[in-house]
Subunit: 411 residues, 2 copies
Amino acid sequence: MIATKELLEKYARLAVRTGINLQKGQKVIINAELACAEFARMCAKAAYEAGAAGVEMDWTDEESARLRYLNSTEEYLTTIPQWYVDKADYQDDQDFAYLYIDSDDPDAFAGVPAERIAMAQTARRKAIKRHGDNVSCNRVSWSIVALPTEKWAKKVFPGCTAEEAMDRLYDAIFKAVRLYEEDPVKAWEDHLAKLQERAKWLTEQKFDALRVTTGLGTDLTVGLADDHIWGLGGEERSNGAHQPFVANMPTEEVFTAPHNKKINGVVKSSMPLNYNGQLIDGMSFTFENGKVVDFDATLGKDVLSHLLDTDAGARSLGEVALVPCKSPIYESGIFFYNTLFDENASCHLALGSCYPTCIKNGAALTNEDVDALGGNDSAIHVDFMFGTDDLTVTGLRGDEEIPVFVKGNWA
Amino acid sequence: MIATKELLEKYARLAVRTGINLQKGQKVIINAELACAEFARMCAKAAYEAGAAGVEMDWTDEESARLRYLNSTEEYLTTIPQWYVDKADYQDDQDFAYLYIDSDDPDAFAGVPAERIAMAQTARRKAIKRHGDNVSCNRVSWSIVALPTEKWAKKVFPGCTAEEAMDRLYDAIFKAVRLYEEDPVKAWEDHLAKLQERAKWLTEQKFDALRVTTGLGTDLTVGLADDHIWGLGGEERSNGAHQPFVANMPTEEVFTAPHNKKINGVVKSSMPLNYNGQLIDGMSFTFENGKVVDFDATLGKDVLSHLLDTDAGARSLGEVALVPCKSPIYESGIFFYNTLFDENASCHLALGSCYPTCIKNGAALTNEDVDALGGNDSAIHVDFMFGTDDLTVTGLRGDEEIPVFVKGNWA
């Protein structure tokens, strides 16, 4: 068995130390599926050992959620009580750290009408938009780590027994988060320093736009927001507290904010996307002046359609991220059906809101100020992958064209 | 295996139909330990099939709670945020029905300092006192049903393997809730009609007090509240809605409100009490004019002490309940370490608040009005058993003495 108690406890400590970087006296929310209860409790224990004042468990259950999506009244699905909003505000204001244990079953909501999920999710996201902004602005510390469940593992390794599939998925995850290193915390520090170098170089280039092309038919010019900054998964709190945290484990990307009025051309997805337990594949988007004017998908077009209808900002881009084919996750050859991994195997874009921290002084700006600089705002932020091993990325600055990626890797 | 899918689904339907008696369009909260997830989902499904507008899962986890009790700061343990209070109020005002799936591990919090649990519970109960009152006044419909977990089953049947213990506990529970009957809903209607006859007779007696004596040394005179009514576990909503529900499954008792200034004498417990995952045994209380003036316990005296310190009302009685030794639960010979069962095997009293519905028109009265009639008010309501097979209960009315129980059974 790959997932020994020792390794799981090591993983829990890494999530608390490097992931949310829990500060002594801080409070924590641990969000987890029931199936991940044992690991969630290990994280709670690790948090207390690191000096947490208190740990709240926020349990989710895809099976109950499926029943709710299928059977509740529309009114029930779309009514977000005020206490729910107040709870999110309270936890943010009390400086809770958020640890999300991601174990999504890629088929959890297969067959559920897409509009039922969309109406519920949109109502929820709009109601707690302030919390969403606090997360994307790093006003709170947060981290997403992954844990296999049988359903997920069997989807990734369909030819294996449940036990083999779990072992292989655990192994892939443990490798991706550097858990086999003797000192994973140190390994993460080194890794983030390398990403930081890339991000620094890109920020200094002050590109106006990136042109991306692939053999699949992508030819897109992505204007970049004014005063944009390239960031990485190792983040700093924007509230002044010195608390570097790692929002995604693993993370292999550097990313910034596109200009939401300066995106033109066509982009084709290079991998399926598991969005909220429903799969979308074969996506194609045509952009004009920053907005999606046409789109298609070979699978899950209805899901995508509802996604784009969330709000005005859902039809523009909030993130462009660069990940080379030399990423260890790409090289593993595993398709994870999980964005936390798949987005770190491939260059990607995100529909919806930008991270305001990708704009100089952005966390201190209003949504309107951010928008004026080209930073996009929306209740959603949904990554999709377009990178391939024949990808070319060219930096455009005035008349200059600077090679950034050639054949899927750094030029 | 006793607990087949068919029987569990039948049980879920019984809990929804007879327990909370869900009305079409009503919303439901299902409160359950993670270990009961599968049955909780069956209940959710049964609720939707019965026309629920929506079902909310309220998951609890004793292991996480134990970590919290042991490791949180005092401030964290005792701070109840406003959103938590608002949530309870919202759910009551929206007429949610409450289905509690009880699976308490009797040793869940063994070794946790009693004052840590007490401070957390007291803060919570005081904060949501309005909700507590709504429950005890039947302004909401609610029901507690039980489900075995391995820890609980092994405590009840320590000599058995986990599997045998689970089978035996399932069997005992299924018998107690009449699940093996072809039509359990009808069996419950018949059972409740019989309890209703007893309650009616007792109410008509208009006793001033009951005198209870046992060979263990109990000799207590329990004055009854003015205008008291004897009730049973099959209840009517007090908000005018016709929705008879069964608050406890099983239920074998008839009960009423003592007069909180007219209780005198000594009572000795006849069974251990599992209170919040901590055991209390060998209890003895001395009452003067309705208040505990002395108490002792051979086990868990500190737990009991904190309980009595909750508030002023915690030192008086809110319930006197009569259960004959001929109760099928008593006759099963099983000690369940769970009040839902043990209180239905034995005459019992409850420290803390009365059910205002045990006083004529009580749900419409203020707490002050109820108190003026002798009905007790507190943030707690904790049953303890004193019934034995040599119990005598005598009704006192003026100079009259009317035998009610002789040798543990109806006279």
